[in-house]
Symmetry: C2
Subunit: 342 residues, 2 copies
């Protein structure tokens, strides 16, 4: 593969290993389609803290610690944490990094954070700069709702296109060597594509899927063009949280670009809850794709059910301030290739 | 240098080049100590836009475009932009990335953003992943003040420890090869250190310097320990925006750690304004260190006045929400080594 102008795909030739992961979720998430596969389920959404913000921070710390411990490492063995969340000034990740005391890089990509974190973390490991590193992302329904939409106490009804912010924190540990007791022994990261900000003019804060689908399609096309892969060389394309409506839109956009994803596509947001849970278009939030990847999806790769996956976390770069100033909601999606090695 | 546990310093063995830079500022900044050295000075703080937020976005776009143009490149030649700002959901950087249309990674490190961006950008170039890349950070007095403190219309008086948010956007272009017409031909990035979040319990939003100084000292010590350098092997240690009070605190903390920085130390915040401008403890904001680096400091390296510089951008991870919940303000500082090559 030659480097050329406009190419935004990075190749990780040393194939950094995914050695461990952990997902911490709340009850709603555990009652969904992937119930029973998470590492810790909260008894209540406040996780014993006095605010939802502190609860989210504790979730992220817990996921990070679990991922390290499960692989046989202590926190002081971890060389860096790359993390982000949806809250203003990234308070979840910042205070988690304070608590954990390890070198830290804060990322803001809204719900695209998990892929951004894996992309940069893989580069740290692949380039021989530092290893092992923790890649994390989180969200919490109650912190996000009051920051982005309405106070919970108002009891606002969600419109049909709305998605429910996932209460969850995911952490994935990447390493250049095997750790004392790796949870996974067959998963590597081989490439990643940096997304562009795409905006088709969506202004409805309850229709995030439509704001993100074009960016998701753009990154998939860029990845395939950059790498020369055909779509059918992937067992699974995963998007973060387009939801039911946004997923349909992505499949349509892809079809228009002569790309058939049907039968090899899963959206974490559209899949995480069961229909009978009545969460409109599904889940969203930076925690959504991170917990589904850290549990169900890595499991599928480890056991060989999926051999090559393009994982795209999708972010709606929504801002209440910009919204009030008449701005539309841009979207972004970063992609990471996860593969099985025997 | 051997890799060891706890080490958070990355070495860039291929020595990515700093080929170009641009700094866009407002009148106050141009009336300060580095007046006349910036690339563009705004006539008015709104830059012809209808909101300060849009003005800040236009400043960042302008700095990015100028840095590319000055080196003889077009925007489509730039492989990635790494950027951040102080605003909620990173709206300055997000909308600038939408406007520029190139692959984009959003970073949140408050005022530490410029060093985080250079650290990650250098890794992208050094590892052979993609080049050239733009590293950017911005802030605007009027957008920051109303988001973090009080509406401008209140006319609140600043306490003596306060710093004035710099209205400025800086962009630095890194490349693995010479560009058609490089602005700089002698500057390379050789190493970087990822900072940890440090919190000594400061809760005063008007005393950011004190919140950041301990993190700055921690990163300097980590860097020297990791690399084996002595302090006198650096011509200059630069901190981002500790301000007059925070700088003094840093020198004291360093002295306690048996590190004498006196005579080889500059704080961008404490230096950017002249005393007669009456901006209390000096400048602050992600734009402060980015515009001082992109103008004055790179100039000093290029002409050989400084041969090795440790550039630390310092961030106060302050959050109005966390503050109201009784949290203190953690600090972080990332470091980048800039050197002259003949």
């Amino acid at each position: 593969m030659n480097r050329r102008i406009g190419m935004s795909t990075l190749l990780f030739r040393s194939e950094p290993r995914v050695v461990s992961a952990a997902a911490v979720v709340a009850k709603n998430e555990n009652e969904g389609s992937f119930g029973g596969r998470f590492d810790l389920v909260l008894e209540d959404d406040k996780f014993g803290e006095d605010s939802f913000e502190r609860a989210e921070c504790k979730m992220l710390c817990t996921a990070a610690r679990l991922a390290a411990e499960r692989s046989g490492l202590r926190m002081q063995h971890i060389r860096a944490m790359l993390a982000g969340d949806l809250l203003n000034q990234l308070i979840t990740a910042n205070y988690a990094a304070r608590e954990l005391g390890i070198p830290y890089l804060g990322l803001y990509g809204a719900c695209s954070t998990m892929a951004e974190s894996l992309l940069l973390g893989s580069m740290l490991v692949d380039g021989g700069y530092c290893s092992p590193v923790l890649c994390c992302a989180s969200s919490h329904f109650s912190t996000a709702e009051r920051q982005y939409r309405f106070p919970l106490e108002m009891g606002t009804t969600a419109p049909p296109t709305a998605q429910h912010t996932v209460t969850g924190a995911g952490a994935i540990l990447l390493s250049d060597t095997e750790t004392p007791q790796p949870v996974f022994s067959h998963i590597v990261v081989t490439a990643a594509t940096i997304g562009r900000v795409i905006d088709l003019g969506i202004t409805d804060m309850n229709n995030m899927g439509a704001a993100m689908a074009p960016a998701c399609c753009d990154t998939i096309l860029a990845h395939l063009e950059d790498t020369g892969y055909d779509a059918d060389e992937f067992d699974l394309f995963v998007s973060g949280d387009l939801g039911a409506f946004g997923s349909e839109m992505l499949l349509d956009l892809a079809k228009k670009a002569r790309l058939d994803l049907e039968g090899r596509y899963l959206d974490c947001g559209a899949s995480i809850y069961r229909a009978e849970q009545n969460f409109s278009c599904g889940g969203s939030g930076a925690g959504c794709s991170s917990v589904v990847l850290a549990s169900e999806l890595l499991g599928r790769i480890e056991r060989g059910a999926v051999r090559r996956m393009l994982f795209l976390a999708t972010g709606a770069l929504m801002s209440p301030t910009a919204g009030m100033q008449g701005e539309s909601i841009p979207g972004i999606a970063h992609a990471v290739v996860l593969e099985r090695r025997d």
